[in-house]
């Protein structure tokens, strides 16, 4: 099961952390959840953070989405929320604070391994807009579409000319399956032959997804290309914190912003934000 792949490492870390914590600092916990794109990142960060916090119990629920994570934070169900978008006006209440921790490229992925690692933006528009149902080499193409409420939908729509109309057309097409979570998105990208999907680089890396990453118009989706601005499809990663949650969340945010945290970010496909 795909979800085992997703939550399995997290649970293992949690159990490990829990066991460790229970031996030193009892009842210290950290609940972090939100966008599914960063779940692998969070788990890696938690594992690094837990090294300095014995007895810490970390809870990372399955993907709630950025909005769901923020809601859960506001509802007190999470200590920190991870989001791929900034707070909206209605979410800025009760002292909730957003911390941009880095950016990750949005990369086109496919289950095909026989490509030369590139796709043109025109082909992307044609395939997502259902103008072409095949790859340029003639193979049947299966696109994986995200719901309109997801941040990836809007990032992709704004990142490529003509993509918004193409995505709307695909979204409105009956029978086109929607991938409601990032994990669903990559599950489909892995399992469908001839698939074409877009995912955050960090998700692909941290979850070790078996998909081929494609350069867009010969520009690879790497931390370097988004760092130098040659690759414009990128996704921000925020941590949202709320007051009154104790020191652990604050410590965690500080950890992330330290070099140790940055190293984990870079290893997880996130280009850290430097102050």
């Amino acid at each position: 099961m795909n979800w085992l792949k997703i939550i399995g490492p997290g649970l293992a870390v949690a159990v490990l952390i829990g066991i460790t914590t229970s031996q030193s600092i009892a009842s210290e916990s950290l609940r972090v959840g939100g966008t599914g794109a960063a779940l692998g990142l969070i788990r890696a960060l938690c594992a690094g953070f837990a090294e300095s916090h014995e007895g810490l119990v970390v809870k990372v629920p399955r993907s709630l989405g950025s909005t769901g994570g923020i809601k859960a934070l506001l509802a007190g169900k999470l200590d920190l929320a991870v989001s791929s978008r900034p707070l909206r006006k209605n979410e800025r209440q009760d002292g909730v604070r957003e911390i941009l921790i880095g950016r990750t490229p949005l990369v086109f992925v496919t289950s095909r391994s026989d490509l030369d690692g590139n796709i043109n933006s025109a082909d992307v528009v044609a395939m997502f807009g259902l103008a072409s149902r095949t790859w340029p080499d003639g193979m049947r193409a299966y696109i994986v579409v995200r719901p309109k409420g997801e941040s990836d939908f809007h990032l992709l729509a704004k990142g490529i000319s003509g993509m918004e109309a193409a995505l709307n057309r695909a979204w409105a097409k009956p029978g086109i399956p929607l991938a409601y979570t990032d994990q669903d998105n990559l599950d489909r990208a892995e399992s469908l032959p001839g698939s074409l999907a877009m995912a955050a680089l960090t998700t692909v890396i941290t979850e070790k997804r078996r998909v081929a990453r494609l350069a867009l118009d010969r520009v690879p989706a790497t931390l370097e290309t988004i760092g130098n601005g040659t690759y414009r499809l990128e996704k921000p990663i925020y941590l949202m914190s709320a007051p009154g949650r104790g020191p652990v969340p604050t410590d965690f945010v500080a950890f992330v912003q330290r070099p140790q945290g940055h190293a984990i970010l870079l290893a997880s496909g996130i280009l850290p934000v430097t102050p």
Partner: protein
């Protein structure tokens, strides 16, 4: 009967109308209710199923999505909303709401619409545990609105159905009933016509079974054995005189019309003659065949036709007799005249006197025979006198009594107030004599001869030959109880030369003369006879009013000597000669002409020369009547005596109207001629 006055048909029409109305009302109600009700039920069922399907499907999707996240799943509201929106593609018609276990609404998608709703709830499960509820509902309001519109349209449709399905068929039904009513009336009229027809009418089926008969069928026929009406055509025609049942049936089987005539006899000697026709009747398509038998009683018509025929025969014979009599009289006139002249000159007791007397008597006998023959003809001398027949009866009986067989008793009954008739006494004698002689012959073994004279008043009584007698008549009845006659004999007894006797037993003129006399006098005659019972003749002669007195004959005076110039005209020169000699012997100056035109010229040349003209009537080129008209045109007061073998079509009144002062019948004797001339001249010279 007017159409609406047939209660059974009217009630039947009302019943059908009521039934049709009920059926159409039911149809209209069905048409009004079925579409909206059906539409609503189908939609309601569909919506119920659809709602349940949506609820089940969406709850399943949600359950799969929230798997592994039993605590925080409800924070994914934006995803849950998109999942529900994707599963509700029909413009949000279906309202879906996710409820937590505490009843709080997490998200709701779709139009809620208005009450009432079709609602279905499905559990949202996580690892088999209920974590929430998906409420799916659809508003019934749009369906109810559409149902209402459909109900309105259906109502209009039902109204139209009611109007068209009820009104039109009922109108057609009423028209059909009206036509049926008219047909029934026609049928009734036809049936009444058949029933009330005087003809015998019945109808049979193709097997000859009588299926209809009219009232005449039961009333007219007199020969049904034991009073049992025939049931078949063959029963009816069997035994009819002159009708062969097999022939009738075979004719009909060939599709042809059978016609026939037969006679039947009832009680007594009543006879009925019928003209019958039997016709095949085929209905449309020749599927149904009936036969109609019609029989008309033509007894009266046949009698009239026979009478007319006999009358024509009598007229023909009379004309023939008149012509012969004229010629013979012309021959007899000089014989009688010259024999009278010679007889006056013959020495008494001489053979010449004896021979001349024989010639004179023979001539007079011949004249009598001719006069009898003339009685057959209406042209015979019709000059009569007012006469009471009682005296004639006594004279005839006196003459007969000695010649009748002793076994015949004669009974005479004469009404004391018997009225007179205008008749020639000699003809009356002849009439009565002939009837009595016939009666006596019918009683060879003796019997009773009755002679009755009455004055009777008749009202539309038809005589033997169909003549209608109305008014006051002198009735002469001559009846016997002799052998009588059968119908065939009775039908011919007035024909001239018809006799039932053997050779030498009769001329066959007796009753023909009787008929001629009666007819000439404007009377009538009836006869009834039955074989073995006897015969009765009833002679009716027009009675004169009581004020008209009798005239009695005076004794003939001897011819007187006279004077004057006379013109005698006759196409027979011998007659001119003998008349001239007779009258010259009496002192007259006589000029004769055998050509009427010559006589006219003679008269024209000297009109005042002549005191009297004696002319024949039947002459070539110019008749006596025409000559008289010419003469009176020249000299209006010239007296003219008509002396003719018979007076042709001149009656006595007409002859006098033409200026004839006297009419003499040839052959005329010297004395009669002399008296007539003297009498006319005496009148002129008064």
């Amino acid at each position: 009967m007017p159409p609406d006055s047939n209660p059974s048909l009217a009630s039947e029409a009302a019943r059908i109308s009521k039934t049709v109305t009920s059926i159409v009302l039911a149809m209209a109600a069905l048409a009004a209710l079925a579409p909206p009700l059906g539409y609503f039920l189908i939609n309601y069922d569909y919506m119920t199923r659809e709602t349940k399907t949506y609820a089940t499907t969406s709850a399943g999707l949600l359950s799969r999505h929230i798997y592994g996240n039993p605590d925080l799943w409800h924070f994914e509201s934006h995803r849950l909303e998109e999942i529900l929106s994707r599963s509700n593609p029909q413009g949000g018609r279906i309202h879906q709401r996710i409820l937590r276990l505490d009843g709080e609404t997490i998200i709701a998608v779709g139009e809620e619409g208005g009450n009432p709703y079709v609602v279905h709830n499905s559990d949202i499960l996580e690892s088999g545990n209920k974590v929430g509820t998906l409420e799916v509902k659809q508003s019934l309001r749009p369906t109810l609105v559409r149902t209402g519109i459909l109900a309105l349209l259906s109502l209009l449709g039902a109204l139209a159905v009611f109007l068209f399905v009820r009104v039109l068929p009922l109108r057609a039904l009423q028209r059909a009933f009206s036509r049926l009513q008219l047909s029934q009336n026609d049928l009734k009229l036809a049936r009444n016509t058949l029933d009330q027809s005087g003809e015998v009418i019945f109808i049979t089926d193709r097997e000859g079974e009588i299926v209809y008969f009219n009232s005449s069928f039961t009333h007219t026929r007199i020969r049904y054995p034991n009073g049992v009406l025939p049931k078949r055509l063959a029963d009816f025609t069997e035994g009819l005189d002159g009708v062969h049942t097999d022939e009738v049936w075979q004719t009909l089987q060939r599709g042809e019309i059978w016609k026939g005539q037969y006679s039947s006899y009832g009680d007594g000697d009543s006879k009925r003659i019928a003209d019958a026709v039997c016709t095949p009747i085929t209905s449309e398509g020749n599927h149904e065949i009936h036969y109609i038998y019609m029989e008309r009683d033509i007894t009266e018509r046949v009698k009239v036709e026979e009478a007319l025929h006999a009358s024509h025969r009598m007229d023909s014979l009379g004309n023939l007799a008149g012509g012969i009599a004229h010629d013979i009289n012309n021959i007899l006139t000089p014989i009688l005249g010259f024999s009278d002249l010679l007889l006056e000159k013959a020495p008494d007791g001489s053979n010449d006197q004896k021979y001349l007397e024989i010639i004179s008597k023979s001539t007079r006998r011949a004249r009598d025979i001719i006069s009898r023959i003339l009685l057959l003809s209406r042209e015979a001398n019709n000059i009569g006198v007012r006469w009471k027949l009682g005296e004639t009866v006594e004279e005839v009986v006196a003459l007969l009594r000695s010649s009748l067989p002793p076994g015949i008793a004669i009974e005479i009954q004469v009404d004391e107030d018997l009225k007179a008739v205008e008749a020639n006494p000699a003809q009356m004698n002849q009439l009565l004599m002939n009837l009595c002689v016939n009666a006596a012959k019918a009683m060879p073994e003796g019997g009773k001869l009755s002679i009755l004279l009455n004055t009777v008043s008749l009202k539309a009584v038809k005589d033997l030959h169909g003549q209608t007698l109305t008014g006051e008549f002198v009735q002469l009845v001559v009846k016997d109880n002799g052998t009588g006659m059968d119908e065939k004999t009775k039908a011919r007894i007035f024909e001239p030369f018809f006799t039932t006797g053997g050779p030498g037993e009769g001329s066959g003129l007796g009753l023909a003369i009787v008929y001629g006399i009666v007819k000439r006098l404007g009377g009538g005659i009836t006869v009834s006879s039955r074989p073995g019972v006897g015969t009765r003749f009833d002679v009716y002669l027009p009675a004169l009013a009581a004020s008209e007195t009798n005239l009695t004959e005076t004794a003939d005076p001897p011819p007187a000597l006279g004077s004057g110039t006379l013109l005698v005209v006759d196409d027979e020169p011998s007659i001119v000669t003998v008349v001239k000699i007779i009258l010259e012997g009496l002192g007259y100056c006589v000029e004769g002409a055998s050509d009427p035109n010559q006589a006219l010229e003679m008269f024209k040349s000297e009109p005042l020369r002549y005191d009297l003209v004696i002319t024949d009537h039947s002459m070539p080129r110019l008749t006596g009547k025409e000559l008289a008209r010419e003469l009176r045109g020249i000299r209006a007061d010239i007296p003219i005596i008509l002396c003719s073998g018979y007076s042709d079509s001149l009656g006595s009144e007409e002859a006098r109207g033409l200026g004839f002062r006297e009419i003499l019948n040839k052959p005329v004797g010297a004395a009669d001629l002399g008296r007539a001339v003297a009498a006319v001249l005496a009148q002129v010279r008064l």
